[in-house]
């Protein structure tokens, strides 16, 4: 045992040395002229990063996250030093409530002027202090016109028995419960327990009709014509519609979700000036347009939109009329309610 002990000590020392040296190299990096970006997977045209490096001389370190919560936990637990992060609306609200964000100095980000007024000052950042919108979109129904005869105007069609096992729902408690709440005429941000229970009953009723609860695979299923109706984000819808001309997109009359992913600077950012340079760069119309042509999602700037290809520019899926937008609701940070949402979602799927 004694001998083992020695070996363990030696090995632990080795590990410790490794850690120290690697953190040293981290430090060396900190002093350099870099910007550390943390974004969703497949959410940027990488050519833009090269362009940014050439224009500013700032080196980009780029990494991906898959969900807001993954990103949140990583930032919350410390040890990370990102300069620019791109969370969604409700997560920005949560992070600013927890003092995790650093106010952006707009003097260094003059390109904010290209962002349209209707995409600013939303509930997640009412004073536009912390965030600069990156992409936005809506939630709606993609349907196959050869399989659906009825008009798609209401969320109610997702409860129509005619389409049993032809309906694909989103595997997301927030969006699915939101849809049920909207159909019932309540706010998609409802926190009233009785309203949520009603939504739960509605979703349970829908369960036998649902083909699957998916997120990423939905696009392929719709393109291949394997389901009639699917709940999708507008960005994915644009892409699906471009690959299969039988598909159409509708935002139901009851209202739906309007979402934003926006760039923020974490409170512990090591290179806030470089972060502001990057945010300014991404807000420049030509760069925003280049990114939008690559990702298909909607950009919050008319100046940038005008640079897009005609087809994308005129797409009502990506850029619905203002009248429709007015009825949409941005998700708020549910706080502790997230557990109730989670339990409801389990109940719905436990059948």
């Amino acid at each position: 045992m004694k001998k083992y002990g020695l070996k363990i000590v030696v090995a632990i020392c080795l590990v410790a040395i490794l850690c120290v040296t690697s953190s040293c190299s981290d430090k060396a990096q900190n002093e350099k002229n870099i910007v550390n970006i943390y974004n969703w997977g497949e959410y940027i045209d990488k050519d833009l990063l090269t362009k940014f490096e050439e224009e500013t001389g700032v080196k980009v370190i780029y990494s991906n996250f898959n969900t807001n919560e993954d990103m949140y936990v990583k930032l919350k637990n410390g040890g990370s030093n990102y300069d620019v992060v791109v969370p969604s609306d409700y997560m920005i609200e949560k992070m600013s409530n927890e003092d995790m964000l650093r106010p952006i100095n707009w003097k260094n980000v003059p390109n904010l002027k290209y962002v349209d007024r209707e995409y600013l000052y939303h509930s997640y950042d009412p004073n536009q202090k912390y965030s600069a919108p990156f992409f936005w979109g809506t939630l709606g129904i993609v349907y196959n016109t050869t399989l659906v005869e009825d008009p798609v105007e209401s969320w109610e069609i997702l409860w129509n028995k005619k389409y049993e096992r032809q309906i694909v729902m989103l595997d997301s408690s927030r969006d699915s419960i939101g849809i049920a709440l909207a159909l019932l005429g309540y706010s998609m941000n409802a926190t009233d327990f009785d309203q949520l229970k009603e939504a739960e009953a509605l979703l349970k009723e829908q369960y036998p009709l649902v083909y699957a609860y998916l997120v990423d695979q939905t696009k392929d299923i719709m393109i291949n014509g394997e389901a009639a109706l699917a709940v999708m984000y507008s960005g994915d819808a644009v892409e699906a519609l471009s690959e299969n001309e039988d598909l159409a997109y509708a935002i139901p009359l009851e209202g739906s979700n309007l979402w934003f992913d926006a760039m923020v600077i974490p409170a512990n950012a090591q290179h806030p000036e470089n972060a502001e340079k990057f945010i300014n760069f991404m807000l420049a119309p030509e760069n925003a347009a280049q990114n939008a042509e690559f990702i298909w999602y909607s950009i919050p700037s008319t100046a940038a939109k005008e640079l897009l290809e005609e087809e994308l520019q005129n797409s009502e899926v990506a850029y619905p009329p203002k009248k429709v937008l007015e009825k949409l609701e941005v998700f708020r940070d549910p706080g502790d309610m997230v557990k109730i949402y989670d339990d409801i979602w389990q109940e719905v799927k436990n059948q």
Partner: protein, 295 residues
């Protein structure tokens, strides 16, 4: 030998960091709240909420998959092990192992293409004039995915035990008037039980905790305990509750392992002594008896 012991030091450190420390972290998270104070509320939530239903659902699906694996896997292992040609045995085992060289997510994803509404299976069925089968995104697709992925883990341990079995015992049984069926029931099967037990454990444990198969083949309609845990970490962001469910699952598996282990060992004991009792005139060679005891 002493020399080699030193080489295990990195492994000990590895195990300490990645097994022991992470295990304690899971337990720590399970018993603390957001501010770090001790609490058992996560367990109360588990046992009073919907997740308990998910656990039973998972047990059911894992059990069905394990039974099907056993029904398919045992005869297959038996046929391979009883072959007298060494080359045939080696080839057969290779054929079982080779698919495992490919990433299991890829193989599972391939099933999506096979089972989907306009997929390969339905195209074939249409060619022979049969109606389309709607299997993808049902419980049965999940069971199929589990059986497909975990079958080798059932076959290999059973095969190993059967192959090593002392042929003398089988011959002795025949000499004593057992026909083939009786030999199997009274000798071969009881002796292969250790292999069956490890096979069952190696299928049941990953089956109950998987979340990829349910997501890909079940379309998330079949909600298993693994999915709930994944959900806590990636979507809800509630590491404490996720850890608590993991702890419950670990306890569950530990307890069931302990029971099956004891039970099966007893059975092997019993059947061995049973054999000795009923055929008192036959003296088993000492070594064989030993082997039976410690198997």
């Amino acid at each position: 030998m002493k020399h080699f012991k030193n080489l295990s030091a990195p492994y000990v450190v590895w195990a300490l960091i990645f097994i022991v420390v992470s295990l304690f972290m899971v337990i720590f998270y399970a018993f603390t709240g957001e501010t770090g104070q001790f609490t058992t509320q996560h367990f109360v939530r588990f046992f009073s909420g919907s997740t308990l239903g998910t656990l039973f659902q998972s047990l059911k699906i894992a059990l069905i998959s394990t039974v099907i694996c056993l029904i398919i896997g045992y005869p297959l292992a038996y046929i391979i092990a009883m072959s007298t040609s060494g080359r045939y045995r080696a080839t057969a085992i290779m054929l079982i192992v080779i698919p495992m060289w490919m990433n299991f997510l890829l193989r599972t994803y391939a099933w999506v293409t096979i089972l989907s509404k306009n997929g390969i299976l339905n195209s074939l069925l249409r060619m022979v004039g049969l109606g389309p089968l709607d299997i993808l995104y049902t419980d049965w697709a999940v069971v199929l995915g589990m059986v497909y992925n975990f079958l080798p883990f059932m076959i290999l341990p059973i095969y190993t035990v059967l192959e090593k079995m002392d042929q003398g015992l089988i011959e002795a049984a025949a000499d004593l008037g057992c026909n083939k069926v009786l030999t199997f029931v009274k000798v071969i099967f009881p002796l292969s039980l250790p292999g069956v037990v490890s096979g069952v454990a190696m299928v049941f444990i990953p089956a109950i905790s998987t979340f990829e198969i349910t997501a890909l083949l079940g379309g998330n309609k079949t909600n298993l305990i693994g999915n709930v845990i994944e959900q806590q970490f990636t979507v809800t962001g509630d590491w404490h509750y996720g850890s608590a469910i993991s702890v419950v699952l670990m306890l569950f598996l530990l307890v069931s392992l302990f029971f099956t282990d004891r039970e099966e060992r007893d059975k092997v004991h019993a059947s061995a002594s049973d054999m000795v009792d009923t055929h008192q005139d036959v003296a088993f060679p000492e070594t064989n008896q030993q082997e039976v005891h410690y198997d």
